[in-house]
């Protein structure tokens, strides 16, 4: 069974998106990156992010991740912000009582995008 199915598929993404996005928007370290984007549209992007981290179906390449975050890198996006997002991902899954070994797998997928997201 794939990680995505084991975590709970689209249902898990839907359950996670509110919790995850609430954490991100409340975090003074990173919330500025999410300013000025319509919340509902942003929520759709958070879903894309979570689906990806859960190993679910998506069409994003490394180049897409690079391009999609380039304007944020220009605003100073760096490792500390990436770490903050990783923190919220882990905490969200823990809150949803996802078993630790699955959280680790999701974190590894997200971690693998670090270079592209940060444009290194």
């Amino acid at each position: 069974m794939s990680l995505y199915n084991e975590i709970g598929g689209e249902g898990a993404v839907n359950a996670a998106v509110d919790i995850f996005y609430r954490k991100v928007l409340k975090d003074d370290r990173i919330k500025r990156f999410f300013d000025g984007v319509d919340m509902n549209k942003q929520a759709a992007k958070q879903k894309a992010f979570l689906t990806m981290a859960f190993g679910g179906p998506h069409n994003y390449s490394g180049a897409d991740m690079r391009k999609g975050h380039a304007h944020l890198v220009a605003q100073g996006l760096n490792d500390s912000h990436f770490d903050a997002v990783m923190e919220h991902l882990g905490a969200t899954l823990a809150e949803l009582k996802v078993p630790g070994h699955l959280i680790a797998q999701a974190a590894a997928i997200a971690e693998s995008t670090r270079k592209d997201v940060l444009g290194k």
Binding site: Y21, R22, N40, A43
Partner: protein, 317 residues
């Protein structure tokens, strides 16, 4: 630099949207909200491709047919565009009544010239002329068989609102579009609590939604907060107080942000008052309409208070 071809002419767009580019060159393209909401500026791309952002919010069938919103389209490549033959259909509507709901808000009742499907809380486009339209929300409820009911706030120097205030009388004929928008009541969870917050004429869609929900036998709480600077800014007060007496699950609280607070009113900013009464919104549905600053702050605050993103419906205007 990408070019936009329209009507056999080529235009340099630079950093501007297709809508701004064409109108700056004197081409008349219908528009209204200029922010990707009302779909008045619908166009079709016949050569080349537009960015996905220009299709956000369109029905999948429209997007698949290369329709896009000119106000939200910043082309990355050369494109050729046309005005659509489809889009929200237009129709005539006869004005059956015009009344001042308060000094600044006009109630307009309309009788559409053909059968008209809508949900309370959706909006129509009202045309001043072929290319000038504005969105107005529907405060009427279809199942009650009422005339379409609009609440138009007077905007100083406003093209369409000032025109309506100056001229409109019963018997006139107006051109409107079919109804659109996502801000309406969906039945199926009658026990869910609903918080509704409005400023000014943002009450219009909520007045429709509340009565629609009650008509559907909604049993959860319907908690309405209407904000204004002073007591003169409210309207439909008697109607709402009467509803609150009839339906114990419906409560209405007019909130005054500035100045004297008579009995029966709350003092403070409408969002603050609502959140103080309802600090935990987990599981609630939320409707937010009116002043964009209030609506955007309220989206975030109600989400932080526990409402799920997909349960928050908003029309900023």
């Amino acid at each position: 630099m990408s070019k936009v071809v329209y009507g056999g002419q080529s235009y340099e767009c630079g950093e501007s949207s297709v809508l701004d580019c064409l109108t700056a060159h004197g081409v008349a393209i219908p528009s209204s909200c200029r922010s990707g909401v009302c779909q008045t500026c619908l166009m079709r791309v016949v050569e080349g491709e537009v960015p996905d952002k220009a299709k956000a919010g369109l029905k999948p069938t429209f997007a698949a047919q290369n329709y896009f919103l000119a106000c939200s389209c910043y082309p990355e490549k050369n494109i050729e565009v046309v005005l659509p033959d489809a889009g929200l259909g237009k129709l005539d509507a006869q004005v059956t009544g015009v009344e001042y709901l308060n000094a600044d808000i006009l109630g307009i009742r309309l009788n559409p010239s053909r059968p008209f499907e809508y949900k309370a809380g959706q909006f129509i486009n009202l045309f001043k002329d072929a290319t000038t339209a504005r969105c107005y929300s529907l405060a009427s409820v279809p199942a009650l068989g009422e005339a379409l009911f609009l609440n138009v706030r007077k905007v100083p120097g406003g093209l369409v609102s000032a025109w309506l205030f100056a001229d409109l009388k019963a018997g006139d004929t107006l051109t409107i579009s079919e109804a659109a928008g996502e801000c309406f009541y969906v039945s199926g969870q009658p026990e869910q609590n609903i918080l509704l917050i409005a400023t000014g004429s943002g009450l219009a869609p909520l007045y429709g939604i509340i009565r629609d929900a009650l008509l559907h036998g909604h049993t959860g709480r319907l908690s309405l907060y209407h904000g204004s600077y002073n007591a003169d800014g409210f309207y439909l007060v008697e109607e709402l107080r009467k509803l609150a007496r009839e339906y114990p699950n419906f409560t209405y609280m007019p909130c005054i942000s500035d100045g004297e607070v008579p009995a029966g009113y709350a003092g403070g900013m409408v969002l603050d008052v609502a959140l103080a009464d309802h600090p935990d919104l987990s599981g609630w549905r939320v409707f937010l309409c009116g002043n964009p600053n209030m609506v955007n702050a309220a989206k975030q605050q109600t989400f932080f208070a526990g409402a799920s993103m997909r349960d928050i419906f908003a029309d900023p205007f």
